[in-house]
């Protein structure tokens, strides 16, 4: 960078600066304010043994009990997980997973028996889990049109470019557009309790209350507002390529149909990691007397629609109870206990070091 050193004003400078007399000259003395003189009152913390060591002990003493509490809570949560991808020959879903095609109209069903060795007392949450599924891929994440999903009619008919190549199909706009919607999980899961006397009792699964409140009520909306006739509202659009039914036939309940279908909303909330689980159904506790899921044999019936074997994906079903801190999460408790112990230990080590060879100069003088 270059700068010109000449300034025409400087031609005058000398005269005004050192002009004799100077009676009228304003004093150029800088103001004596604490700010300008850099004398603002200030707190000057110093790392001394008196402040640092107690801090370590306090962190240690806080973290260890929290960690123990978390660990115990997490251990009390019951969780059951079953993989039904059908990779092995022995797996009940092996056949379904083998001869799958998007276009087949005949549903393939497989039945997986399992046994719960503990009764599940409170509400039980049913999740489906996918592995090796990159919902967090950049192109995947952005392949949606939030205006369309919010019920905007213009966007419904002309989806955003982000949705390409799932924006139009056969010259009709796709609703909902984009890769996320197109790849929506569409296996149907049903649970049966095998009564000891041999009858299969279907367990009622709650389809609502599984999405975020803001998603359901703010972010997603059907076109035409509260128009009950969704078929008319989606007139002129076509279903996503991979879907079997159009969006307005996802559920019979008009409050859970179209874009505000909760299964759809849950799917649209993309996962952060390639292995993830999503809430599928809730089994509500019926009464305080009977456990929601008693100990015993169960059957999981899967209508196998969703292919994952092409990219070595896995599908799981998870049943879980919940506590104040959510589902089973042993890591947090262990991490807290570890960090707390390390802090405490560090505190002790530093204390010893400080006493052995530390610089304990508490005088006001500096000895050189």
């Amino acid at each position: 960078m270059m700068a010109s050193s000449y300034n025409a004003k400087d031609e005058d400078g000398h005269i005004t600066v050192s002009g004799p007399g100077g009676g009228t000259l304003r004093s150029k003395k800088p103001e004596n304010t604490a700010f300008k003189q850099q004398r603002l009152p200030a707190w000057q913390p110093i790392l001394t043994a008196g402040t640092v060591l107690p801090a370590f002990f306090i962190i240690g003493l806080l973290f260890i009990p929290i960690g123990i509490g978390l660990f115990v809570t997490s251990n009390n949560i019951k969780e059951f997980e079953v993989d039904y991808t059908g990779v092995d020959m022995s797996s009940p879903c092996f056949n379904c997973s083998q001869n799958f095609s998007w276009n087949s109209t005949k549903p393939c069903t497989c039945t997986i028996p399992f046994y719960l060795d503990q009764p599940y007392e409170s509400n039980v949450y049913v999740y489906y889990g996918l592995s090796n599924f990159y919902q967090n891929h950049r192109r995947y994440v952005k392949s949606r049109d939030d205006s369309q999903l919010n019920g905007d009619v213009n966007s419904l008919m002309s989806p955003s470019k982000e949705c390409e190549p799932y924006a139009f199909h056969e010259n009709k706009p796709i609703a909902p557009c984009g890769a996320i919607a197109n790849s929506m999980f569409n296996d149907t899961l049903e649970l049966f309790y095998n009564d000891p006397n041999g009858t299969r009792i279907p367990i009622p699964l709650n389809t609502t209350g599984i999405a975020w409140w803001t998603d359901k009520h703010v972010k997603f909306g059907n076109p035409g507002g509260n128009n009950p006739n969704l078929t008319a509202a989606f007139q002129g659009t076509t279903k996503p390529v991979n879907w079997r039914r159009p969006v307005y036939e996802l559920d019979a309940d008009p409050g859970n149909n179209g874009f505000i279908n909760e299964d759809f909303i849950v799917w649209m909330r993309t996962a952060a990691l390639p292995t993830f689980r999503k809430l599928y159904r809730i089994i509500n506790k019926k009464s305080s007397m009977v456990p929601t899921l008693p100990r015993g044999n169960y059957t999981l019936e899967v209508v196998y629609n969703y292919p994952v074997r092409s990219f070595e994906g896995r599908k799981r079903v998870i049943l879980s109870t919940i506590s104040w801190m959510g589902g089973k999460n042993p890591f947090l408790g262990i991490a807290y206990i570890t960090v707390g112990s390390v802090c405490f230990f560090l505190g002790v080590v530093l204390l010893i070091i400080h006493h052995k060879c530390g610089n304990r100069n508490n005088s006001a003088d500096i000895s050189n």
Partner: protein, 1191 residues
């Protein structure tokens, strides 16, 4: 004239605009502004995009517009870029506005132009080449003029050139004799001479041209020119012909573009930024390779759910795009805000310098000024200071301090003169009332002593009103002596070419001035011969003791011995001494000598020598009167400052144009040299051989103390060998020796020798040599240099040093204009370096460490996430967070730290100069520290990514909804990041003012506020496509698990840092830690901050207050100085205003040869090669004053 280039010339015809317009010379309108309203935007933008950083960000912006690459929305780059560009543009616009204003002001000044025979007022900008303009007293010269005529006799006029070359003394210019006769405007209007001269150039002291008028040629020189920027003084009016106007004037030609200085931190920063770019490319390549592998192994199979974008048909192309996508994402390791923040911090520091009351000089009403705002932190790293002497270390004020009259010495207590003498100069002070008593009593010797001082000089007086006398002396020494005489009742009132009028003890006396035996540096003395009203003739002489004592009448040996003792005593106190003597002449003696003098004066050949011989003849058998001692007053606090600075390990070199004795003398009085020193080496050889020999012997004696001095022949000694020499040495080197020492084959030897010495004084150096010495140290020592000076002769040194400091003193403002910092007292240097410089360096280092840390912590999370998202360049955070992180969420706390942080209070850093050392050794921010910061940043990013990852992957909300969705993860990581870096800045901040509190807490508050706002339903309803994160903040931050995660990650990030820092302070405390600690202890004990504590340097400044013993013999000698030839000017009467005086008979007696003499002398100066004589005058700078040598 032979210098004139023949092929290019300028022709100017007076009073003929039509003729001159043919050549299209520049008009007198100056334009220093760069833009106007129309051109501002394009030109300014063009200039800004010449900055590499800006272009880089523009490139990123273009990348982001490609949809396949764009991993971030365009506004993440354009918002900061626009911010930076507009801030710079506003700054440039303001600067330019002020330039416009000052241009306008200058261009609209009025000047009187002779148009068609009458004087008309014209604006400066309308003055054309070839115009004749009239100047009045105290007016600025509007353009470069050829002086045509003046109101003064002989076409003389006086100018002050302080603006141009920094010299404050007046200069004489004279018009060519034919034009000086023109006189009034009517004649001038008819003047149609044509000037042919050289084209515009920047040489201030040279002009050659020819005036053609009425078929005759007249040679023009610089002596005929009035340059723009000068001020007319003591001249009622003059007329000049415009030769160069506006941008062609020498003033404008000299205001060339200056080199932009960069600090070492700047250079380091640029290197680091390059490294980071390298690192970024590496990351990009790693991730692109990952992308290739992933797309081949997984992505291609995943295509049923996520097909490739149309142009992508294989994994390699995808990897290529992914590389650029990652370049975009990861570019935040070097955010654009880095450069802006650095500038803001430096600006803040500059303001603190400007605002510092303790660097304000109330006498001259000048605050310190940081003229460059980009060098502050380098002030904390200075290792070498190069200082000018006159006006910098000394005040350039001479005070009559002591005297010895007839064997009695005077001078101890302060004295009030006003009751005794109403004509006294109120500023004069002298410390002995016994002298006053002896004057009052009427002691003959005392009276003779002061009579001599009032008569024997070449001072001019000006009496504006009765009793208000102003003396104009060529040298301050002389002024001091005449002022002393004035105060003791022998008042020099006025002079004419033939008389001197004084008031002696209230009685006016007029002496007839018979002759001035002027002074030159061979004679080292001057005399006057006067006839007093009684008719007795007397010769008064003052001069160097060595010269004068030889020429005394042998009758009074005893007095001579006593006086000689006194002289030694004065010299030992660092005073400049003069001996005074007189001789009564009889009428016959006078007549005889007068005749021989007249002969010598008229001699055609060897006039100088014959005059000198004539002077010699009469200056014999004089009677000693006594001696005077003049103090070359040091500026306030100079020895203390030098002591403090050298305790701070800063080496101080004095580079002065003064002669060796004066320089050494000042060296002693400012305690650079002390008698405790093992040896003071003096190198004054004139030839290469002798200089080499002298250097070799210095080296040899140094080696006696260290046994490490390498042989003086090649291979050149590695300079560090001589760094650890016991004992203190000083080196004094003369300018002509320096010229040899600076040659390529000797310079390494010279540098290593000089750097082994504690003090180095270079005397009789030219301005160019000053710069060369600075360059030498810059080249060989790789150290930060600072040059401080006040005169135009220091400009080159100031410009070539890393930091230039100008003393805004009396010697014009040239040095100040060239400088980076200016203040009015040398002692402020310690505060500038030890307080402001140290703080600036500390703050800048802490700022950079933290800044790199926070951006690595922020950015590297994307890298880790790459391994989990198929290397698809998906960001971890919300795009708004990425946009705002650097400019809103984390900028203010670190700025507050960078601007306000203090480790120890200012008075502590002056008390413990050792605190300055980390800066010189560059300990606080170097490559090692940088890697530590980077490592810490990367560690933090690992924690920031993997802890939430591990916790959230299985966690659910208390409603059973999984927490592992992308938005929750983004919010958790971002919040953790903001909290971790806030805790880190809280740890780094050592000085918590209100502002720091507001900024740190405010930033955190702002983060949450903005996040909730961006995730609010209101915004989503307006722009559903822009705010995808609706509801995330609320739903995430209500989860206890999220807060537990944040706390966990923060603890994991901070605890090791805390432990490490504690160990460092506890086991290996730095001096600043200790000072800080003691400060705390002291505050706790409520002990009054005792001055007794830590006065480490105190006393150092005041060693050996008394007589300088053994080697102090007669150092000072003589040092009164002025230009030769003034005596002639006086006696010829040419510079007398009183044109009505009986000049006629004088003019007849003294031929008007003095001008010729003067001109001849000037010429001989100009053509003397610099090394041939001591008083060389390099172009562009003032002629060094000629001194009498003292030996």
């Amino acid at each position: 004239q032979y210098l004139c280039a023949k092929h290019e010339e300028r022709r100017v015809r007076a009073n003929d605009r039509e003729y001159n317009e043919k050549f299209q010379y520049a008009s007198n309108c100056i334009m220093t502004s760069k833009y106007n309203i129309v051109t501002f935007l394009p030109v300014n933008l063009f200039e800004q995009f010449q900055e590499v950083a800006n272009t880089y960000f523009l490139f990123l912006l273009i990348l982001q517009l490609i949809p396949q690459i764009s991993s971030l929305s365009w506004f993440t780059t354009i918002v900061p870029l626009a911010l930076v560009l507009s801030i710079t543009a506003v700054k440039d616009a303001t600067d330019d506005y002020f330039r416009h204003k000052s241009d306008n002001q200058v261009n609209n000044r009025q000047s009187q132009v002779l148009i068609r025979g009458s004087l008309q007022n014209e604006k400066w900008m309308n003055v054309r080449v070839g115009d004749i303009i009239k100047l009045e007293n105290n007016q600025f010269v509007a353009a470069d003029l050829l002086l045509l005529s003046s109101s003064e006799p002989h076409g003389l006029c006086y100018i002050e050139t302080a603006e141009l070359d920094g010299e404050s003394n007046m200069k004489v210019r004279q018009s060519v004799s034919v034009t000086s006769a023109l006189g009034d405007p009517n004649n001038l209007a008819l003047f149609d001479g044509e000037v042919v001269c050289e084209p515009p150039n920047n040489k201030l002291d040279r002009f050659c041209g020819t005036l053609y008028w009425r078929d005759k040629k007249y040679t023009l020189t610089n002596q005929n020119m009035l340059l723009r920027g000068c001020v007319l003084r003591n001249t009622e009016a003059c007329y000049g012909l415009v030769i160069f106007a506006g941008p062609d004037t020498k003033l404008m030609q000299n205001s060339g573009r200056t080199k932009f200085k960069r600090t070492s931190i700047d250079r380091l920063m640029n290197t680091l930024v390059l490294w980071i770019f390298g690192f970024l490319v590496c990351m990009g390549v790693i991730l692109a390779v990952g992308n290739a592998v992933w797309e081949r192994e997984v992505g291609s199979l995943f295509q049923s759910y996520l097909p490739w974008d149309p142009p992508v048909d294989n994994f390699l192309f995808s990897a290529f795009l992914s590389f650029w996508s990652y370049v975009i994402i990861l570019n935040t390791v070097v955010p654009i805000s880095l450069y802006v923040s650095v500038e803001v911090i430096r600006l803040g520091h500059s303001y603190f310098i400007n605002w510092d009351q303790q660097m304000f000089c109330s006498q001259c009403n000048t605050p310190a000024e940081a003229r460059t705002t980009t060098l502050n932190e380098e002030l904390g790293q200075v290792e070498y200071i190069f200082s000018d002497k006159t006006g910098t270390l000394t005040q350039n004020i001479m005070s009559f301090n002591k005297c010895s009259i007839n064997g009695k010495t005077y001078g101890t207590d302060p004295l009030d003169f006003t009751p005794f003498n109403p004509l006294a100069d109120p500023n004069f002070c002298f410390y002995d009332d016994t002298l006053l008593e002896s004057v009052k009593v009427g002691d003959t010797h005392t009276h003779k002593f002061f009579r001599l001082l009032s008569l024997c000089h070449t001072v001019m007086s000006e009496e504006k009103s009765e009793g208000e006398l102003f003396y104009k002396a060529q040298s301050p020494d002389e002024g001091a002596l005449v002022t002393a005489a004035r105060n003791f009742g022998f008042v020099f009132r006025s002079r004419t070419p033939g008389t001197i009028t004084t008031t002696e003890m209230g009685r006016p006396v007029t002496y007839t001035l018979l002759a001035i035996l002027d002074f030159n540096n061979i004679r080292k003395r001057m005399s006057v011969i006067v006839r007093n009203p009684e008719g007795r003739i007397c010769l008064y002489c003052k001069g160097a003791d060595t010269v004068l004592l030889e020429r005394l009448h042998p009758c009074n040996q005893e007095l001579m011995n006593i006086t000689s003792d006194h002289l030694n005593e004065y010299a030992a106190d660092g005073l400049r001494t003069l001996a005074l003597a007189y001789r009564d002449l009889s009428e016959d003696e006078w007549e005889a000598w007068s005749e021989s003098h007249r002969c010598a004066d008229k001699a055609a050949s060897c006039r100088e020598d014959r005059l000198a011989a004539a002077y010699e003849q009469i200056e014999q058998d004089m009677m000693l009167l006594g001696a005077t001692a003049i103090e070359d007053k040091l500026q306030e606090g100079v020895p203390e400052t030098i002591a403090v600075l050298s305790l701070a390990n800063i080496k101080i070199w004095v580079l002065t144009g003064d002669k060796q004795e004066t320089a050494v003398n000042i060296g002693y009085s400012c305690k650079m040299l002390t008698d405790d020193m093992t040896e003071v080496f003096i190198i004054s050889g004139h030839t290469v051989q002798s200089v080499r020999q002298e250097l070799g012997s210095v080296c040899l004696s140094l080696s006696l103390f260290s046994l490490q001095c390498p042989p003086p022949s090649p291979p050149p000694p590695p300079s560090n060998l001589m760094d650890n020499i016991s004992g203190e040495f000083a080196l004094v080197i003369n300018g002509h020796s320096l010229a040899h020492a600076l040659e390529a084959d000797m310079e390494t030897e010279f540098v290593s020798t000089a750097c082994a010495c504690k003090a180095v004084i270079c005397c009789r150096v030219t301005p160019l040599q000053k710069a060369q010495v600075v360059e030498l140290i810059k080249k060989h020592k790789k150290a930060v240099t600072l040059a401080i000076g006040d005169g135009a002769n220091d400009v080159s040194m100031i410009k070539s040093a890393h930091i230039g400091v100008g003393i805004s003193g009396q010697e014009g403002i040239q040095a100040v204009l060239a400088s980076d910092y200016s203040f009015s007292q040398f002692r402020f240097l310690q505060r500038l370096l030890l307080v402001h410089g140290r703080w600036s360096y500390l703050r800048m280092c802490r700022f950079l460490c933290y800044f790199f840390y926070k951006n690595f912590a922020f950015t590297m999370v994307h890298f880790w996430f790459g391994f989990f998202c198929g290397f698809s360049a998906q960001t971890v955070y919300d795009q708004y967070f990425i946009t705002l992180y650097n400019i809103v969420y984390t900028s203010l706390p670190v700025l507050a730290m960078g601007i306000f942080d203090q480790d120890v209070p200012d008075q502590r850093s002056l008390e413990y100069p050792k605190l300055y050392e980390p800066g010189q050794l560059n300990l606080l921010f170097n490559k090692r520290e940088f890697f530590i910061c980077i490592a810490q940043g990367i560690y933090t990013s690992v924690v920031l990514f993997f802890v939430p990852c591990a916790v959230l992957s299985n966690a659910t909300q208390s409603t059973g909804v999984p927490l592992a969705d992308y938005q929750t993860f983004a919010v958790t990581t971002a919040t953790t990041l903001v909290i971790v870096v806030s805790v880190q800045i809280a740890l780094d901040t050592g000085f918590w003012t209100v502002i720091n509190h507001v900024f740190v807490w405010g930033s955190l508050g702002l983060y949450f506020t903005i996040m909730f706002a961006l995730h609010s339903q209101t915004l989503f309803k307006i722009f559903p496509n822009q705010f995808h994160f609706v509801g995330s903040a609320q739903s995430t931050l209500l989860q206890p698990v999220v807060w537990l995660t944040i706390a966990l990650a923060t603890a994991i990030c901070i605890v090791p840092v805390l432990a490490f820092r504690f160990l460092k302070v506890d086991l290996k405390p730095q001096l600043s830690d200790t000072v800080r600690h003691t400060q705390l202890v002291r505050q706790k004990k409520r002990k009054p901050v005792g001055r007794s504590v830590g006065g480490a340097w105190r006393g150092v400044g005041r060693v050996s207050e008394g007589r300088l013993g053994t080697r102090g013999s007669r150092r000072s000698g003589y040092a009164f100085a002025h230009q030769e030839g003034f005596g002639e000017l006086i006696t010829s009467g040419k510079n007398m205003r009183l044109s009505s005086l009986a000049l006629a008979n004088f003019a007849s007696r003294h031929s008007s040869s003095w001008i010729d003499t003067l001109r001849r002398k000037k010429h001989s100066h100009a053509h003397t090669p610099p090394s041939a004589s001591g008083e060389s005058s390099p172009p562009l700078y003032r002629l060094p004053l000629l001194f009498l040598a003292g030996e």
